[in-house]
């Protein structure tokens, strides 16, 4: 309540000697316009929290019920890629923050540069996601269609930074193969979880008459949540990159200045938010019961 009372009504009558060209007609001042934008963006992010929240809820419930299946599914993901991508996204948050910093300083050229860095890092993130997704398709753990459990064939997983870089550019990794340490997956998972039984619908959809999907069906639920959550996250990344490209273009043309750069700030908020979502997704999806 105090919060509300101390806030006074916005000043509005003061005459503005010069109207900033970017001041919309219905605002009285740049200050007011900026504030409105920031508040609007924060509220938008609140709705985003609740949007992802629905999936976090489903995740929490099913992880609680089917913990073993979630642990088994989680162990199929590559911890190397997960960690790498987390670092990439954090770095992109840093470059985004620096872009905003330079925008505040009115340093247009650096703004463009840091926006580009951010875009590049974001693209790397998506590239990794693409690799991971293809691997999951190859391993037949995409939850719709030809889902199989336990997996019969393992895709290549990196187990060092060099391999990751090679794989990023599409080359064959040197020493990561199903025999590498990450292969421990098959051994660990099959010993710990194999006894849980197979997926009754091996080789396709669960047949109509066999309704019990068994343990593998619950793993499938894990992968469903994995794809839904990371998929929606990736969609947000794509939108973010689109926005950044637009901003970089505008910044290059000199649209922004010390006084007027709120779009950069707002997009920054958005970008950081997407980063935060990943900060939670990473341990929740990649790190369930890793200590086998």
């Amino acid at each position: 309540m105090a919060l509300i009372e101390t806030e006074t009504a916005p000043e509005r009558i003061e005459l503005h000697a010069e109207h900033h060209p970017h001041l919309a007609h219905h605002f009285e001042s740049m200050e007011q316009q900026r504030e409105a934008g920031t508040l609007g963006m924060w509220w938008f992010l609140l709705t985003e929290i609740m949007f992802f929240g629905g999936m976090f809820l489903a995740y929490t419930v099913y992880r609680h019920i089917y913990f073993d299946a979630f642990a088994a599914g989680s162990n199929v993901l590559s911890i190397w890629w997960g960690t790498f991508n987390t670092a990439v996204l954090i770095a992109s948050s840093l470059t985004m923050a620096l872009a905003v910093f330079h925008a505040q300083m009115g340093n247009s050229r650096k703004v463009v540069r840091f926006l580009l860095f951010t875009i590049i890092l974001g693209t790397i993130f998506l590239r990794v996601k693409y690799i991971e997704y293809s691997d999951k398709f190859e391993e037949h753990v995409f939850p719709a269609g030809d889902f199989r459990w336990p997996i019969e064939h393992e895709a290549n997983r990196p187990n060092n930074v060099g391999d990751m870089l090679l794989m990023l550019i599409g080359a064959e990794p040197l020493n990561s193969s199903p025999q590498g340490p990450e292969h421990a997956f098959s051994v660990k998972v099959t010993t710990k979880y194999a006894e849980k039984g197979p997926y009754y619908g091996v080789g396709g959809q669960v047949p109509e008459e066999v309704q019990d999907p068994g343990f593998g069906g619950h793993v499938r639920m894990y992968f469903w949540l994995y794809f839904a959550m990371t998929g929606f996250h990736a969609l947000h990344m794509i939108i973010g990159i689109g926005l950044l490209l637009m901003l970089a273009w505008q910044a290059r043309k000199g649209k922004f200045s010390r006084e007027y750069h709120s779009y950069i700030e707002l997009t920054g908020l958005y970008w950081h938010f997407v980063d935060i979502v990943w900060i939670f997704l990473f341990p929740l999806l990649y790190l369930v019961d890793r200590h086998l």
Partner: protein
């Protein structure tokens, strides 16, 4: 209300802290802490998120109102999770526990 400019130095420090946090997350995941694995993972994630919110997103320098709204967002999420989980925890038919 003019905008507050955060020195670059702080950004780099936060970046460092976030990387350390990521490393810790991974390390803790490989240590068997029983039920505390998830607690540790979440605590670290919350700490990292707070760093991002506070510094990268400038909430530290924003109005109390902004702080309130950020809190509201997470509190609402918590309400949804907590109340729904109450159902699952007090319904006896679901007993697949880890």
């Amino acid at each position: 209300m003019s905008e507050h400019i955060v020195p670059k130095k702080i950004y780099y420090r936060i970046f460092g802290a976030l990387l350390v946090g990521t490393a810790l997350t991974v390390i803790f995941a490989f240590i068997n802490l029983g039920n505390f694995n998830i607690v540790a993972a979440l605590l670290i994630a919350i700490a990292k998120a707070l760093l991002v919110i506070t510094f990268f997103m400038h909430v530290k320098y924003s109005s109390r109102l902004t702080k309130l709204w950020v809190a509201v967002g997470f509190i609402w999420l918590f309400i949804m999770l907590a109340i729904t989980m109450t159902d699952y925890l007090s319904r006896a038919w679901l007993v697949y526990r880890p």
